[in-house]
Subunit: 574 residues, 2 copies
C-alpha cells in the first residue's frame, strides 16, 4: 500500500535535516561515486553523525566503517545508497529493519534501463512501502541542503552551492552539475537542491509541498521530463502560489515527439502532449521557461527584488543604441516606458549635461561616470510614475565601471522598487558585474533578457491578485459514441466525416447543434422539415461530396412542403 | 553634386589602408576623446605616418604637432577629425585644400542634436562633395582595421580586437564598445570594425560594397537604426551574397514605435515600418538577428565552420537531460536527428559502455572521459547520414573537461562537416570553453543557441543554391479609384464596404472578380443575369445589411429569367 502524504513529508524532513546518516556502499577509491559522496558530506561540515557502511573498508577519513547497517548501535535518520542496483533491495531491507525511514538512492540501473531494471525498481518501492520508508531516486545525483543547521551535500556534485533562497528540483542529475557551475559563477545561492531521478517514490509533488513550508525557500525551480500526475502537480502549484506567493518556474523538456522519445530512454518517462503541459502550467500559475538561462534570469529577478507593482519602466543608459534595443524589447514584452514627472524632468535637465537625452530612455551619454548614473537612477526610482528601473552600461573609455556598480547597489538599497541591470560586454565589465551579483542586483548580459524577466515578474504579480478559475470539467461526454463513429469512418477509409456524423460527434461532446435529419425520400424530407419548422436548408448528403456548393447541392430558404419536395428532386437530379 | 560610388570606394580604401594620417584636434589630456584616439593609433603599431594637428600642443608621444593641416609638407591619405562640431567645417575645408580625400569625423553635435546641428552636417557634406572627399560619421566611435598591413585603430574604443574574418558595421558607437569587449573575451576576431554614426556621407551600402571585395572579410555584421535607401541596401546585399557567398547578418532596432522614436533622438533617424524591414531582409537574403548575442552565435558558426550541406544532426552528450532539451530545440528549429548507419551503430555498441544510449542523441554517460567523446564524435562525423555534430558536456565529477575540449578540436580538424559545442555551466567549464574558442570551434552556453545557429547557417546554405525571385511590382494599379471609394465610405461614416464597392476596390488593384452588377429593378436583374449567363446568385444590396444570410437576402441557383424575377421580388419583400 502506498504511503500517505503526511508520511512522505515527515520522512522528507529527515532527508533534508538528518541528525545522523549512513552511506551504504561507501569506499575511498578516488573518482568513484561512493567516494565522491562521502567526501562531499564530510567536506561541507555536515551537522550530524556520519556512518560509512562498506563491505571492504575498515575506515574512511578516520571514521570507522561498519559491515552492515544492522551493526550500527545508535539510531540513524537517513540512508544514502550507492550500492549496485542488483543488490539495492538488500540494503533497503536492512535499512527498513534498522528503522531508517528516509533514503536517497543514488544508484542507477532501474527503470531507465528497462527489463530487469523495472523489476528492481518495483522491488525497492515495495520494501519502502512495507516499512513506511520514503526515498528519493533512484538514478539521481543526490540532495543538497545549504541551511547552516544541516550543511548537507549528499550528492556527487563537484561543488556545494552557497546559501540562497532558490530551491532547485531536477529530474536530470547531469543538468544539476551544469546548473551548480552556472549559478556559482553568478553568486546565485540555493536553499535546497534536489536531483530526484526516476522519482519511484518521492515525487516532484511531494517535494513542492515540502518547499511550500520551507522558510528558507522563496522561489522554486523545477526541471521535468515527465509529469506523472498532472492534476496533482497543478493542485500543489496553486496551493503554494496562493498560500505563500512563492513563484514556481518550470523547464519541461520533451516538447517535441523526438525529444519525448529521447526522454523515454533517459529516465524511462512518457512525456505526453506538450500543448496540455502549456495549458496546465498556465492554469496552475507555473511560469514555463524555455531554457536554463531564462529560468535563472527570471528567478534572480523574483528572488532578489520585489515584484513590480505596475509595468512602467525607466531606462537609464550611457549608450543610445542599446537604449533603442531595450525600448523595442520593453514594448514587445508588454511593458510601458514610464513618463517622468515634471519634478524628475526638472532635476534631469539641471543635473545632466545638455547633450543628454532626459526623456525615457534616459541617455546619460558616453562619458558618464558614477555621479551621473547616481542622479539618473536615484531620481528615476523616486518618481511615482516609475515602477522599475533598467540600468544599461557599455564600457566606454571614461566609464568608471566598478564605481557605477557600487553606486547602483547603494541606491537600490534605499528603494523598494525593482532595479535590474545590464552591463554589456564581457571582460571589461566583469568586475562591475561581479559587484552587482554579490549584492544581489539582478544582472543580465542582454538588455532583452532584463525586459523579459521584468515582464514575467510583473505577470506573476498580476496573477497573484486574480481569482483562480477552475477549468471546466465535463461529465456528460459520450466518448464511446464519438469513438464508434470515428472508428467506423476510419474502417471505411473515409477522409471526411459527412455532416450527419460530424453533428453526432459534436452532440456526443455536448455541443448544441441545429436540429436536422437525413432524408432518404421526398416524403421523409417534408416530414423532417415540418418537424423543424420552415424555412429550412436542404443539402446533399453523400460520403463522396464534400464541397456541396460545387455540385449545386445546397438549397436555402426552403419555405414549404412543396418547396422541400422540389429541392429534394433537384438535389437528387444533380 | 553627390559623388559617384567609384569615388566612395576609392576613398574608402584610404580610410582602411592610409599610408599617412592626420589627427585634427589632437591633445594629450588623458581621458579625453582626442587623446584616446591618438594613443590608440600609436599603441597598435599603425603601419604608416601619423601627423597630430593641434592648436596648443607642440608634440605628442615624441611626434611634432602641426598647427594647421596646410603646414604638413608631405601628402596625407586620411584625416581624423576630433574637432568641436562648430569648427569642423574649417578643418574639412583645410583638408580639402590639402588634397586629403578620406576623412573620419568622430565629433558629435550634428544631425542627432537637431537645429544648428542639421545645418552643420549639411555644411560639411557640401565641402566634402566640393572636393570629392568621402567621410565616415560624424558622431561615431571610429574605424578599426586589424589587417597586419594597416593595424589601424582610429577609434576611441578601449581595445583593439584581434584579427579575424568578421566585419562589424554599427550605427551606434557605444554598442561597439560592448561588442568589442564581448568578442575579445570569446576570442572572436574582426577584419574591419566601423562605427559609421550619422552616415552623412559614406553609408552602410558603400561599406557593404567595400567589404564585398575585401579578402579579409568572410561574414558581415551590421547594426542599423535607420535604413535610408532600402532598395539600394537590398541590391547591395543580393550582389554580395550571390557573387561572393558572404553572409550578411543584421540587427535592426526601432522594431516598435517607441524604439523608433528613441532612435530618432539618438542618431536623428527615422526607423520606418518594421514589417517592411523584415520582408526586405528576407528578400535580400539578409539574416535578421534579435540581439547581439544571437548575431555572434550565428556569425561564429558561419565563420569558423563550413555551411551544413543538409540538416541531419548528431547529438553527443554526457547528460541525458540536456540531450532531451537539445532534441526539442533541433526539431523546433526544423532540423532532423540523424539516423546512424549500421556501421556507426556497430562501433558505438562495441566501443561505448553498455549503459550508454547509442541512438541519437548519443548519451556517453556521466563518467565519460576524452576517449569516449573521441569515439562518439569522430564516428558521428564520419557517418554519411550525419551533416553536423553537436557536442554537449556537463561538468560531472569524472569529466576531464580540458582534455575533451582538446580532443574535439583535434577531431574536428579532420572533417569538413560543421561541429558545434555546448559546455554547460560556467567556471568549471571555463578552461575547456577557452580551448574551444581559441581553436575556432563554435561554442554556445545554451544548447538551444547551438541548434538555432546551425538552422540559420543551413537556411543560408539552402538560399545560396536557389534562384532569386524578383518581388513582383504592379504598374496597373488604379490607386486613385480605390482611394476615392474608401474616402466616400469614410465620409458617410460607413463601417463596411458594400459588396459592389468592395469589388470595385479589388478591380482597381487588378484582382480578377466574378462578373456581376447591381440591379435596381426586376428588369435590370434579368438583363444583368442574362449578360452573365445562368445560373447566377442573387443577393440583397444595401449599406446596412452585412450578414445577408440572416435576412434571407441570398438566392442560389437562379436558373432563368423567371427565377431571377421571383428572386428579386423575394429579396425586395424581405
Amino acid at each position: 500500500m502506498a504511503k500517505s502524504a503526511a508520511i512522505q513529508q515527515k520522512n522528507l524532513e529527515k532527508i533534508f535535516y538528518p541528525e545522523s546518516l549512513v552511506v551504504v556502499g561507501a569506499n575511498k577509491v578516488q573518482g568513484t561515486v561512493p567516494a565522491d559522496i562521502i567526501f562531499n558530506i564530510l567536506k561541507t561540515d555536515f551537522q550530524g553523525i556520519v556512518y560509512p557502511v562498506s563491505p571492504r573498508e575498515h575506515f574512511i577519513s578516520g571514521i570507522k566503517c561498519h559491515k552492515y547497517v544492522a551493526d550500527i548501535v545508535d539510531p540513524v535518520d537517513l540512508a544514502i545508497l550507492v550500492f549496485p542496483s542488483s543488490v539495492c533491495h538488500l540494503a533497503m531491507e536492512q535499512c527498513g529493519e534498522k528503522g531508517i525511514k528516509s533514503v536517497i538512492i543514488i544508484s542507477a540501473g532501474f527503470k531507465e534501463v528497462g527489463g530487469i531494471g523495472l523489476e528492481r525498481e518495483k522491488q525497492i518501492k515495495e520494501i519502502a512501502d512495507k516499512y513506511d520508508m520514503s526515498f528519493i531516486g533512484p538514478n539521481c545525483l543526490g540532495v543538497i541542503n545549504t541551511d547552516p543547521k544541516a550543511l548537507l551535500n549528499a550528492s556527487f556534485a563537484r561543488k556545494m552551492p552557497t546559501e540562497g533562497s532558490i530551491a532547485f528540483l531536477s529530474q536530470s542529475g547531469a543538468l544539476c552539475t551544469a546548473v551548480l557551475d552556472y549559478a556559482q559563477a553568478k553568486h546565485i545561492g540555493f536553499s535546497k537542491f534536489v536531483s530526484f531521478g526516476n522519482k519511484a517514490d518521492i515525487s516532484e509533488i511531494d517535494l513542492l509541498y515540502y518547499l511550500k513550508d520551507d522558510p528558507k525557500t522563496k522561489v522554486i525551480l523545477v526541471y521535468l521530463e515527465e509529469i506523472s500526475d498532472g492534476p496533482g502537480l497543478m493542485k500543489a502549484a496553486r496551493e503554494i502560489i496562493t498560500e505563500t506567493g512563492k513563484p514556481i518556474l518550470a523547464l519541461k523538456s520533451g516538447r517535441t515527439k523526438e525529444g519525448a522519445s529521447a526522454a523515454a530512454s533517459h529516465t524511462g518517462s512518457l512525456a505526453g502532449s506538450d500543448e496540455i503541459v502549456d495549458a496546465a502550467f498556465e492554469q496552475a500559475g507555473i511560469i514555463r521557461c524555455d531554457n536554463i538561462e531564462e529560468m535563472f534570469n527570471i528567478a534572480i529577478a523574483m528572488t532578489y527584488q520585489s515584484l513590480p507593482s505596475n509595468n512602467r519602466v525607466a531606462i537609464i543608459t550611457n549608450a543610445g543604441g542599446p537604449g533603442v534595443l531595450t525600448t523595442d524589447a520593453v514594448i514587445h514584452d508588454g511593458l510601458q516606458l514610464a513618463h517622468f514627472s515634471d519634478e524628475t524632468t526638472d532635476i534631469f535637465r539641471k543635473s545632466l549635461p545638455k547633450t543628454a537625452n532626459i526623456k525615457n530612455p534616459v541617455d546619460v551619454i558616453g562619458d558618464a561616470r558614477a555621479d551621473r548614473y547616481h542622479v539618473a537612477v536615484s531620481n528615476a526610482l523616486k518618481d511615482e510614475n516609475v515602477d522599475g528601473v533598467f540600468v544599461i552600461l557599455t564600457p566606454q573609455s571614461m566609464t568608471d565601471i566598478e564605481k557605477i556598480a557600487e553606486e547602483i547597489c547603494l541606491v537600490s538599497g534605499h528603494y523598494e522598487k525593482p532595479l535590474y541591470t545590464s552591463f554589456m560586454g564581457e571582460s571589461d565589465v566583469a568586475a562591475g558585474i561581479d559587484i552587482l551579483q554579490r549584492h544581489k542586483i539582478p544582472h543580465y548580459i542582454l538588455p532583452e533578457s532584463m525586459s523579459k524577466s521584468f515582464a514575467r515578474a510583473y505577470q506573476f504579480k498580476q496573477r497573484l491578485g486574480k481569482e483562480w478559475t477552475q477549468a471546466a470539467a465535463f461529465d456528460d461526454v459520450d466518448r464511446e459514441k464519438a469513438q464508434s463513429i470515428l472508428k467506423e469512418a476510419r474502417k471505411n477509409k473515409r477522409k471526411y466525416l459527412p455532416e450527419g456524423e460530424a453533428v453526432e460527434v459534436l452532440k456526443a461532446y455536448g455541443f448544441p447543434v441545429s436540429p436536422g435529419g437525413v432524408a432518404k425520400s421526398e416524403a421523409e424530407a417534408v416530414s423532417i422539415a415540418e418537424k423543424i419548422g420552415f424555412p429550412v436548408v436542404m443539402k446533399v448528403f453523400s460520403d463522396d461530396i464534400v464541397h456541396k456548393f460545387d455540385v449545386k447541392g445546397v438549397y436555402l430558404n426552403v419555405n414549404s412542403a412543396k418547396e422541400a419536395r422540389e429541392a429534394y428532386q433537384a438535389i437528387h437530379k444533380n
